[in-house]
């Protein structure tokens, strides 16, 4: 695959993580301002879902090295501990590669459940490693529901982008 295609794909993933950080910032502000008594429940994984889409859509072009590099760049750009996104990107890349043709015959609902579950696992690990005191099952459940709702818009949006530019 051309370098520009990789750049484009990384651009979409970067945008997803950037939107995640914006939403998190907005959530924190709202949480501090108005919902102090309520637990913090909204945790989106747009960037992770976008990466899942690209591996799902063009598995032959995004191999382990590409997922590894995307993870490294995301870690560097967003200030995570180096290795976290690399690990999860490589892991989800392997899982999707193994089951990609099985996923092709899945319904949208099954895809939603699988990718929402994956993102919930990603969020759970993130909280366990970096913020165990804030870990809660309610947060994971909300994250599952929110990411499940986000999967289809991401799927159709990225598909239109792929058909237009790649």
């Amino acid at each position: 695959m051309k370098f520009t295609s990789h750049l484009f794909i990384f651009g979409t993933i970067f945008s997803g993580f950037w939107l995640d950080s914006l939403i998190a910032e907005f959530n924190i502000r709202t949480y501090i301002a108005a919902l102090e008594s309520l637990p913090y429940l909204v945790e989106t994984s747009l960037g992770f879902l976008i990466l899942c889409y690209w591996i799902y859509a063009i598995p032959e072009k995004i191999q382990s090295s590409a997922a590894f590099c995307y993870g490294l760049l995301v870690d560097l750009c967003f200030g995570s501990a180096i290795g976290f996104n690399m690990l999860f990107f490589s892991g989800i890349s392997y899982v999707i590669h193994v089951y990609v043709f099985r996923f092709r015959i899945f319904s949208y609902l099954q895809l939603i459940i699988f990718f929402a579950g994956s993102s919930m696992f990603y969020v759970a690990c993130k909280y366990l490693i970096f913020s165990p005191e804030n870990y809660s099952y309610l947060l994971l459940l909300c994250s599952f529901l929110i990411n499940g709702l986000l999967w289809l818009p991401i799927y159709f949006c990225m598909r239109s982008l792929r058909r237009s530019f790649l």
Partner: protein, 276 residues
């Protein structure tokens, strides 16, 4: 149709990638080994954001300043135009007041000059300046838009003296023959001497020929020259000028050059005494 053929996915590369990632994550989380790198990248990001924000801010300041400058320039132009308009209005108002004052003054003087006669103030229409400066014909035209009944041979005055008389009317224009016109003859009185002063064909100059009865010693240069009223056109005893010089043409004849007081070049409004 499938876009790719199902192929075997070798796990080794993924396992290797995961192991490397885990090692990096472990070392970074527990020992902060890669924190300098992460910090540097974050610093670059922050600097980039600051640079971008500064650039955007400066650009916005520049556009704002440019817009302000444009607004100020437009306002300045508008104010300058208004100021020019006010200046013009004030100038016109002042000129109008001056003209009105001149006309009132002239009217008053006409009343003094004309005794019982009616005075009309008229504006100049044209002046034969080229002829006036070089030649013998000294004529000016006055406007008569209200079509006053102006007869021929009526005295024309400016300031405190006369300068000529009406000679013709053309439509709404009145032709005035000046004293200095070579065809004009004005009966004058100089220290008891009566003579007919003929226009010299030169600006503000008339000449009088005196007979042998008078000698040069009888008349002084600078003596006042008055109208005698003998011609029936001008009222008597109005000063029209001074004796400029006296020449002896022959044994029994003197030529007296008279400088006229009235200067038609200095005025735009002229008064005509009409009726008798």
């Amino acid at each position: 149709m499938a876009r790719t053929t199902p192929t075997h996915t070798p796990a080794l590369k993924y396992i290797l990638a995961c192991l490397v990632s885990m090692a990096l994550l472990f070392s970074d989380v527990n020992y902060q080994t890669l924190s300098p790198l992460r910090g540097s990248v974050q610093a670059v990001g922050i600097y980039s954001q600051l640079f971008f924000a500064t650039t955007v801010s400066r650009f916005l300041e520049f556009t704002s300043a440019y817009e302000n400058q444009r607004t100020l320039t437009r306002l300045n132009n508008q104010l300058r135009d208004e100021l020019q308009e006010i200046d013009s209005k004030l100038f016109l108002q002042k000129q109008s007041q001056l003209i009105t004052k001149d006309m009132i003054d002239l009217q008053d003087r006409l009343q003094i000059l004309g005794d019982q006669r009616d005075g009309k103030v008229l504006k100049i229409a044209s002046f034969g300046l080229q002829d006036y400066l070089c030649c013998s014909q000294h004529i000016l035209h006055l406007q008569n838009p209200l079509q006053f009944a102006i007869l021929m041979h009526q005295p024309v005055a400016v300031d405190k003296t006369f300068i000529g008389q009406t000679s013709k009317t053309h439509l709404n224009l009145i032709e005035v023959t000046l004293f200095s016109d070579s065809s004009h003859i004005l009966p004058v009185k100089i220290d008891g001497l009566h003579c007919n002063a003929r226009g010299a064909g030169k600006p503000r100059l008339v000449r009088c020929l005196a007979s042998e009865e008078f000698k040069m010693s009888d008349i002084q240069e600078g003596s006042l020259v008055l109208t005698s009223g003998l011609g029936g056109v001008f009222p008597k005893d109005v000063i029209i000028g001074k004796v400029l010089s006296i020449y002896e043409i022959s044994n029994n004849e003197l030529r007296i050059d008279i400088a006229l007081d009235g200067n038609p070049l200095d005025h735009n409004y002229f008064g005509i005494l009409s009726g008798s």
